[in-house]
Symmetry: C2
Subunit: 340 residues, 2 copies
């Protein structure tokens, strides 16, 4: 089969890779309907994370079940499924508490590579959620978004306790931050402030429910949020970047007793204990347990309540995967969808 | 009047200080029934925090209202009252959300000094909670504990979401940690594990509800907790020390999706962002909004449901304040009560 492989920083190609096979009886093989390029794929692409030899790429996916192992009981070939970036048994205590991304049997889908024609999904019963029927093609981008960026933004909004009566600020105007805006709206937030200095992203933030845009960042951004909230700060702040500046901007924008939901993968961040102590905020985040939210998100998408697929502003055949990475790296695209 | 003054590290004395006067119309003057020495008083006493000239000491207090300002409406002279270490208006948005220690008009009681015969309490209507009648002397130690160490341990247990079915671990066997054990029991925790290597504190922990004692600390302590919880870690961990080691021990003892409630005042702590991210824990704490819990705690004490006053293992006249500090500094006493 054909699949994307990163050979070195800046060098991603479509290669012929071995057809995936059932390895464990709990595996399923899916035929990808769509995949995409994640912001986190850009870390190795840019050489900020080390690339150790050719690596299959991609961890976001929707597709049709092609084959199941002998110990898969809830899925049948032909079903359309959505999964997320960690395989999980969905039965251990951690999964049952809603933290499937930290399942004691968790396996990283990124090591498998879903920017490809087919993929082997471990722990298929726990990992994959089937749609009631094979959906119309128009829903594919939104269902694919549920697989990671929507699920991650949603988790951030839940971790930040976005809800009725709340003012929510969102640090980061990438796909996850933008869908954090959408999640905050769906969760009933009263006011949603997006930090953004790019007009296209500001427009998308407004489309998803942002009521206000703040273009400053760092201390000036924090001061602006304080001004907008009688000096108190926001009730809820979503952090979707992962840098020192963005984390401190998120914490400082939050009122005492408020909640920071952070999902930007942490890069060289150290949090000062004393400032955190005196801030009095709640801090929760990490790798999003997307599986927790998938049934609800799929339902919202198929009933037309939400349209997260709008984050894909580039739609390419899988053969053009290199252009997908390049466009995102150069910030010409917010997020690139890839069709095998 | 007589009041404790810290002149230099190790040098605390009972001095003649000016009688407190009503300054703002929202002030009340109270006649102290009891005060005590806090673990945090030991930081300047030990010279770890700078001592800038003679400083009045003490921020824990119960007493009788002596006089009220013209704008105090809920209190009358003669009432017995309990307050906490921050004065708060109890009406701003932050107070109403239960974070009175971060009230926008918060004033630090420590600057006033309650290891004394009398004290001026700002924002008296918001700060002080009167008991239904002047209580029997036997309740005074427990009501005094509510003023800080119980209220702080209680907040830590609430922040850690201790409750039915939960395994709670407690890092720190000082008065706050021990009362965190009591709080976890009252909140219905199923299993309460106290980290302690001192027999007297282990005994008090068991008296307050600890079901297990772990004597190891650091990585060995974490490994022990994992062993006791099928490898998952505790659901809830209370941190009541404030050092780098204790914070990391708390975070690492918590399962993914679990809660750390931290109240040890942070000293030279830096949290690694990546480890925090991948831990998936909830982190909440800081200076405890004791005022939120006072009505409930007073009720539990006066009905005999809880006996937090047991943390006072040294009961001295105010005149012996120097011995109170010395005994706590040398860890001969867990907590010293002072009677003017």
């Amino acid at each position: 089969m054909q699949g994307a492989v990163l050979h070195a920083p800046g060098d991603v190609r479509l290669d012929t890779r071995p057809d995936p096979q059932i390895v464990e009886p709990t595996d399923a093989i899916i035929k990808l309907a769509a995949s995409c390029v994640c912001g986190s794929d850009l870390w190795p692409y840019r050489g900020i994370e080390t690339v150790n030899g050719p690596a299959p790429m991609g961890h976001e996916y929707v597709g049709i079940v092609e084959e199941i192992g002998s110990d898969v009981h809830t899925l049948t070939p032909g079903q359309f499924v959505v999964g997320s970036f960690f395989a999980s048994d969905n039965t251990c205590e951690i999964c049952q508490a809603g933290y499937q991304s930290r399942c004691i049997h968790a396996e990283l889908i990124g090591a498998i590579g879903t920017q490809a024609e087919y993929a082997r999904i471990p722990l298929a019963d726990g990992t994959l959620v089937a749609t009631p029927e094979v959906p119309d093609d128009k829903y594919v981008p939104s269902l694919l978004a549920a697989s990671d960026v929507l699920g991650t933004g949603w988790f951030a909004a839940v971790a930040a306790e976005a809800g009725p009566g709340k003012t929510v600020a969102v640090v980061g105007d990438g796909a996850v931050g933008l869908l954090g805006v959408l999640a905050a709206r769906e969760l009933g937030a009263e006011r949603i402030i997006a930090f953004s200095r790019h007009e296209d992203r500001q427009n998308l933030a407004r489309h998803f429910g942002a009521t206000d845009i703040v273009t400053e960042r760092g201390d000036a951004g924090v001061a602006h949020i304080k001004d907008m909230t009688n000096g108190y700060g926001a009730h809820s702040v979503i952090e979707a970047v992962g840098t020192q500046e963005s984390m401190m901007q998120a914490i400082r924008s939050t009122r005492a007793g408020g909640h920071v939901g952070y999902v930007g993968v942490s890069h060289d961040v150290t949090l000062p204990g004393d400032e955190l102590f005196f801030s009095g905020v709640h801090l929760h985040g990490g790798r999003a347990p997307v599986r927790r939210f998938l049934p609800d998100l799929i339902d919202r998408i198929l009933t037309g309540a939400i349209d997260p697929g709008h984050v894909f502003d580039l739609d390419l055949p899988l053969a053009d995967v290199a252009e997908g990475y390049k466009a995102m790296d150069e910030r010409r695209a917010i997020k690139a969808l890839l069709r095998p």
